[in-house]
């Protein structure tokens, strides 16, 4: 009975979402404050019913209710309790429910924390968010009902994909969804402004902190996914240019451009067209990502639903959202005329160039992701677009973006001169040049040299900027510290990604017991394999001793698991450190107690995720800047 209550709660949530759109709209038209003010309570009730539905579904997983098709398909009694809970979002229907819950959570957060926003503006925003919610709740109820009962009650359920039986699944999807869905908030701010016909300071100022939080979550979601893929898939990689990865990376690039574009628009009133289009495309790309993942177009660990009906629904939704918002944009374009001027060498121009580079980079990813799908759909053959394409196209676009990124912070608003800029930075450039020459003595690898140069370039400029501001009393702000933090995060990421890809060592080897093998200066001694039994798997656990300069530094125990469904899984063993990872994956048993193993030496790989964390931290710091605590009197 509880399951039917959960299903009914979802129906009620849909009705509240409808009311959240209809009643406040009537209130706005009739200038009735009571009706328009209902947007908040109606939203809260919508959130409440989605939360109830979510809790009931989670309870069904915990209680092994295999009368529910979704539970029976993704869980069984042997599954550890923690994975029963996270299995709720381990497949299509549940993850859609999580999506709806997160959208409602974002909406509630906007309704509660937007105390400085005029009620009339807030009502419009909540109406837009309500419309998006209607789309997702309809999608859930019509095509992806997680509460569907089975005609016969199974005594045992199937298995949750073993790849997903991991701590990564518990946190990666919720974080990523927080980012994806978070992009709905700046989108709702923009649309509400376009509908009201008032693209004013209020919209620009108050949408930025929400964009920053969404961007921070998107960053965290992506780096968590990368970290999870690294330790769970057993390939030792951290990014595969997989279309699903790209689907989250594209909105991230646009969100990056948007947070910078918003800063210019709110301070100087420039780039309003650009900002509006970025906000629309940010959320549209989030929806496109959902379409790609859920429609079954892509085959990967992320593709839960190979159902054209679901794909068609999202496609229609996508067309309505993109088409509707662009039509609205065209209608209101005349309101965004600005007479504010700036010269070619100015902070505004610098940020604009960076924005264009980021959007171009996004388009290169877009092309590399969709072109093979398009060719396939048109029957023009199958092509594979992977790392070589992105290395050749994406990277060269991002290099000038990174170079310009730190220079912009030194530029003056509206107008600057090259003389002033070179005068200000000449010693920084001399220092960067010297450090680069010293580092060039250490390596002749061009890619690494370039990465070192960019690292020094960013860090040096950021530190100089920091010291400059420290000398100016009262000029430090959380937004400024956040910016420095995020820029250094980019530098750390860049160096980590380049060094690990250039100097990483990968070996597929046969290991005999007690016969040492040396890789990248480390000695590995295979001590054998023991049997392994878990709650829902069996397998083998290898034991490898790792020595460096005759000193034992680690005992690594990689596992090869066989889940009850028969699916094999590799659990890599990692000896992590800030300057390198030793990564071992157990392969197959060979003759005479020998085994095949994959051993990886990954220098600076942790810097990739450390960089990501710094970027997310920077965004969060900027969110809490005092500018967003401005008191407005009624």
């Amino acid at each position: 009975m509880l399951i039917e209550i959960g299903h009914f709660a979802l129906v009620l949530a849909l009705i509240f979402a409808l009311l959240q759109v209809v009643l406040p709209t009537i209130g706005i038209i009739k200038h009735d404050v009571v009706l328009s003010g209902l947007s908040r309570p109606l939203l809260w009730m919508q959130f409440f019913w989605i939360l109830i539905a979510f809790a009931i579904l989670m309870n069904a997983f915990v209680m092994d209710d295999f009368s529910v098709k979704y539970v029976a398909s993704n869980s069984n009694t042997n599954l550890p309790s923690i994975f029963k809970m996270s299995a709720v979002w381990g497949a299509h229907e549940g993850s859609l429910l999580l999506w709806a819950l997160i959208l409602a959570t974002w909406s509630v957060a906007v309704s509660v924390f937007s105390r400085r926003l005029p009620a009339e503006v807030l009502n419009y925003i909540l109406i837009i968010l309500g419309l998006i919610s209607i789309g997702f709740l309809l999608f859930l109820l019509l095509t992806s009902n997680p509460f569907e009962r089975l005609d016969i009650v199974l005594v045992q359920g199937r298995e949750l994909n073993p790849l997903l039986q991991d701590f990564g699944l518990i946190i990666h999807p919720p974080m990523l969804y927080m980012g994806y869905v978070g992009m709905a908030v700046p989108f709702a701010f923009v649309l509400s402004s376009l509908i009201r016909g008032q693209l004013d300071s209020t919209w620009l100022r108050w949408s930025r902190p929400w964009t920053l939080i969404a961007w921070a979550f998107l960053t965290l979601g992506i780096i968590l996914g990368s970290w999870w893929a690294y330790y769970e898939l057993g390939w030792g990689g951290w990014w595969f240019w997989d279309p699903v990865e790209n689907a989250s990376f594209m909105p991230w690039l646009v969100a990056t451009a948007l947070v910078h574009s918003l800063s210019v628009s709110e301070k100087r009133g420039a780039f309003k067209h650009w900002t509006v289009l970025l906000a629309i495309s940010g959320f549209s790309l989030s929806l496109l990502g959902t379409f790609l993942v859920r429609s079954g177009i892509l085959t990967s660990v992320h593709s839960f639903a190979a159902d054209p009906a679901k794909g068609l629904f999202i496609l229609i939704f996508l067309v309505i959202v993109i088409g509707g918002s662009l039509a609205l944009y065209a209608w209101r374009a005349s309101l965004m005329q600005s007479s504010n001027t700036f010269s070619l060498l100015s902070r505004e121009s610098g940020l604009l160039i960076n924005n264009i580079l980021l959007v171009t980079a996004m388009l290169s990813v877009f092309l590399g992701t969709l072109y093979p799908l398009l060719l396939d759909a048109l029957g023009l053959g199958k092509i594979s677009v992977g790392a070589p394409y992105f290395g050749a196209v994406f990277v060269p676009i991002m290099i000038p973006a990174v170079l310009v990124m730190v220079i912009v912070s030194f530029l003056r608003w509206k107008k600057d001169t090259t003389r002033r800029l070179t005068g200000l930075l000449k010693w920084v450039w001399v220092g960067v040049g010297l450090l680069f020459v010293i580092s060039a003595l250490l390596t002749d690898n061009i890619s690494v040299l370039l990465a070192i140069f960019l690292f020094i370039w960013i860090v040096a400029h950021s530190l100089v900027l920091l010291f400059q501001r420290l000398n100016q009393k009262g000029s430090m702000s959380l937004a400024f510290i956040g910016m420095i933090c995020a820029h250094i995060g980019i530098a750390v990421f860049l160096l980590g990604a380049t060094v690990t890809s250039q100097y990483g060592v990968e070996r597929d080897i046969k290991m005999d017991i007690d016969k040492p093998i040396t890789i990248a200066g480390y000695d590995f001694i295979f001590k054998g394999v023991t049997r392994l039994s878990g709650q829902n798997y069996q397998g083998n656990k290898g034991h490898i001793e790792v020595y460096f300069e005759d000193e034992k530094i680690a005992d690594l125990r990689p596992e090869k698991r066989q889940y009850v469904t028969g699916m094999p899984m590799t659990e890599a063993a990692i000896d992590p450190s800030l300057y390198r990872d030793i990564y071992i994956a157990l392969g197959e048993s060979l003759e005479d107690d020998s085994w095949s193993l994959r051993i990886y030496y990954k220098p600076l790989i942790r810097w990739i995720w450390l960089g990501g964390l710094l970027i997310a931290l920077g965004a969060l710091l900027a969110t809490f800047d005092r500018r967003y605590r401005l008191r407005v009197k009624g």
């Binding site: 009735d32 209020t202 100087r268 009133g269 003056r412 066989q562 003759e591 407005v632």
Partner: protein, 389 residues
């Protein structure tokens, strides 16, 4: 409380929530667009001054920017409409929601839920189905879902519980035809077949299923257990022990199956101790000349077997391996016996045969190379050396 009472309670709660806020609206923050834009305009001017102080804008541009902020604010204030909001009587909303909320929620729910599902939870919540009813329900379900292997399996289990063994095996067979690669199904089907016989006999079909299950999942404990049971029936206790120990290591600590296996193994030990038949082996070392190796493919097979020195030339015990995997020596024991009743240890004298064959066929073919030993005494556990030149 019945389902519809719960639904009614949820609708009433929803209704009460709306009514509450309709008649006690939330307090507004009193901020209007005008005051918001003015406050932001002022802050922008302050920030502009800060930029000037930090040398982020020069004096001339500062003045221009200041003007731009003022102009922008003026435009923004112009755009603000000054229509007064009011709070009117919303009884119509109350009536509309009173009607629409239950009608829409129940209507949408009924539209989305098939009739069978609407009654199912109430049925199952109140009274569990009997086995007979369950079987009928599954049969009904299978009429429209003929390819649901799980459902056929469940039907097989239900029939078995009902004592309808023939129907049970038929259902399992259908499940097997649909999904022949599910090791759990294979083991369950095999054990059902064994249970269906009067004295728990292993048929050829049940043995085939167990082997198939082990091929798919070599360490499946239930398959290993059944395979061990089969070995017991063949009085091959060494094999039984090996299989059950494998099953034991595959089972998690503390499981009931583990306790059963430990018991079975201790019983097996007792049986083994009472068995005094000595076991013998023949060790055969083979040197294959380089010339032969060069002339053969590494994918060819090398077969080593022993046959009786006198009597039928049928192999007694045999081992076969690909040439590329051959290490130079093989030991033949009773476990390698071709027929269970004709074990190596029961023979006094045998002849060892080494054959290199492209096909690996039991019969000697064209191009096969074969070398034979002299007659050897099995009781001495002999170790012999053969050369293939």
């Amino acid at each position: 409380m019945s389902l519809y009472l719960w639904f009614a309670l949820m609708v009433i709660t929803s209704f009460a929530w709306i009514i509450w806020f309709l008649y006690r609206p939330l307090k507004s923050n009193k901020i209007n667009l005008e005051s918001s834009n003015i406050a932001l305009g002022k802050q922008k001017l302050l920030e502009l001054e800060q930029d000037l102080h930090q040398n982020l804008i020069d004096e001339k541009q500062f003045n221009q920017a200041k003007e731009e902020v003022s102009t922008t604010l003026a435009i923004e204030l112009q755009q603000v409409s000054n229509i007064q909001n009011n709070a009117s009587n919303n009884t119509w909303v109350l009536i509309l929601i009173l009607v629409l909320l239950p009608v829409m929620s129940i209507g949408v729910y009924q539209y989305l839920t098939p009739e069978s599902n609407m009654s199912q939870p109430l049925e199952s919540a109140e009274k569990p189905l009997s086995l007979e009813q369950s079987a009928n329900k599954i049969v009904q379900y299978l009429q429209t879902n003929k390819n649901d292997s799980e459902a056929w399996k469940m039907l097989g289990l239900t029939y078995f519980e009902l004592g309808k063994l023939d129907l049970s095996i038929d259902a399992y067979e259908k499940s097997y035809q649909i999904n022949p690669k599910d090791p759990r199904l294979l083991v369950e089907y095999a054990s059902m077949m064994i249970s269906a016989t009067s004295d728990n006999q292993f048929s050829d079909q049940s043995v085939k299923l167990i082997k198939q299950a082990l091929k798919i999942e070599p360490n499946a404990p239930d398959a290993l257990y059944l395979a061990g049971m089969f070995a017991v029936s063949q009085r091959d206790f060494v094999l039984t022990k090996g299989l059950w120990q494998r099953a034991l290591s595959a089972l998690p600590e503390g499981s009931i199956d583990r306790a059963v296996l430990v018991n079975a193994l201790s019983e097996l030990k007792t049986v083994e101790e009472s068995k005094n038949t000595p076991e013998h082996s023949v060790s055969v070392r083979v040197d294959v000349s380089d010339k032969i190796l060069k002339s053969r493919s590494s994918e060819d097979f090398i077969m080593i077997y022993v046959k009786a020195a006198k009597g039928r030339p049928m192999p007694i015990a045999i081992k076969k391996i690909k040439l590329k995997d051959f290490t130079g020596q093989m030991i033949l024991t009773d476990q390698d016996s071709v027929i269970q009743n004709n074990q190596l240890s029961t023979h006094e004298q045998v002849i060892a045969v080494v054959r290199i064959s492209a096909t690996g066929s039991a019969m000697r073919g064209v191009g096969d190379i074969q070398v034979l030993s002299k007659a050897i005494n099995v009781a001495n556990n002999p170790s012999i050396h053969l050369k293939v030149k």
